[in-house]
Amino acid sequence: MTPSKISPPDQQERPLLELLEEMRAVVRYGLPVHADHAGPHLLALPAVRSRALDPGDRVSLARALEAALREEVDRLQHELAPAARLLLGSDPSTAGARLTVRRAAAAKASGYELHHFRKRIEPKIWSLLVGQLGRAGDVSAVVAPVLHPAHRPLVLPADVFAWEAVEHQQTLASLWGAVYLLRAELLRTAALVSMDAVEDELVAAAASALWRHALVLHATARYQAAYGQVLLHSAADAGPALGPTQIAASAGWTPELTPAQELLLIEVAAPEASLLDFMTVLACAQGGPRLIATWRWALTGRAPSGTGPDQEEP
């Protein structure tokens, strides 16, 4: 299955040249990273934003950049790794030292003459570090749960973090699942309208779409109760944070409802109940018949005889 992906708006590309230039500045001053010496492209990397306690705060981003650099340089498996650690000052022997001292130690450790190291090898180290940070952030894009064929049962480690991660995945998958089912009904309704189908078919399709829409609202409310208004971890990605309501809206266009009508739908929707149960309860609820008529009218352009959107409540 192809994963659905919602790109945060205004997400910018990360030009390599700027990243390298900014890494050069970080190397010049060494660790720790000072907020004034950290360039905007480095601070915008997903690997950095995902670690920052407050992605809107430059100091917090600089601390996250430092931690990400330390971790990546610690993990680096490359012949230049020891030189990179010495040059950055993450190695205790050069921590806090001036650039000339760090450079001399790094050149010596890597077996290069000092000027050759400065001119030829240092740029390779900037590139290496930028590449490591870039790869570390590859996992940060916001995507719908990606599905793979499974060849064995899923057995979770008994770990609170795993339980929470699974609960989040479950809540998110339920939301996406509801969104896809609503999308299917919206598509079916649009096709029937296009075919100028008979009224009974249109009424049934609109009712199914309304039911699915109510279940999307229910799943959204459930997500918000558990995790808040913003999708977990999306605040760390570049651009404005995504919320569950944006996932819900990705099903397709739906008629505009008032907040009171949305609340009514959430109250009436029960994931275990059938379409018939849902419509029966909604039709008997205060404001229910009007909501059904408004929805049907907006979605199909038609309403059953005598049941237009201006119909009075019984």
């Binding site: 057995v155 979770l156 609170v160 973090f161 558990a226 605040a235």
Partner: protein
């Protein structure tokens, strides 16, 4: 240095955290530590507290419940820290894991966590790398999940934020990981 030297109980307290995300193989490492009778955390206190909260609430934790849970876990970590008086001990997660927990849910660290992080300092922190390129049974399925990787990163970040320099333990057999960890430990002062 022999294991007996390391374990000499007539030495000042030395506290070492072993942490990592789910699927890092932590359970297996602690299982073997117990078999080897090396002083270490029994079970995982956070897990039992989590179960109690869930049972009491009758549902999964929600936004408003999580900091209370965090505070209970913090109290358990502090108690375990203070109970240890002599010799070496390995801790199944430590106080700064709370930073990772809060960050996972987009919460800011709370004052008690920051205070405890300042007051109760571990001697070293070992982070078990995920077993995602390691031929392990069930863990393999989860280690590749994006969210699990995120949890791991947030835990590591929490320790950096708390002023530690974690030592990364490569994915390997539990025995070799324990050997790796012990090789990093300094000879205890008598």
């Amino acid at each position: 240095m022999s294991l007996d030297q390391l374990l000499n109980p007539a030495t000042p307290p030395r506290r070492y955290v072993i942490t990592g995300g789910p699927s890092s193989g932590k359970e297996a490492v602690f299982g073997l530590l117990h078999e080897m009778e090396i002083p270490s955390t029994e079970g995982e206190p956070a897990r039992e507290i989590y179960r109690k909260h869930r049972d009491r609430l009758g549902r999964h934790l929600q936004v408003g419940d999580r900091q209370e849970y965090s505070r209970d876990v913090l109290a358990a970590f502090v108690a375990e820290f203070c109970d240890h008086k002599q010799g070496l001990r390995f801790y199944n997660r430590g106080i700064p894991d709370g930073y990772g927990w809060d960050a996972f849910f987009g919460l800011r660290p709370y004052p008690e966590l920051e205070e405890a992080t300042r007051v109760y300092r571990y001697d070293a922190v070992f982070v078990l790398d995920a077993l995602d390129d390691f031929d392990s049974e069930d863990d393999l399925v989860w280690a590749k999940e994006r969210e699990i990787r995120r949890v791991h990163e947030l835990i590591v970040q929490g320790y950096y934020d708390a002023g530690y320099k974690p030592i990364f333990v490569p994915a390997d057999e539990p025995r070799r990981r324990i050997d790796f960890i012990c090789a990093q430990l300094p000879v205890p002062a008598s």
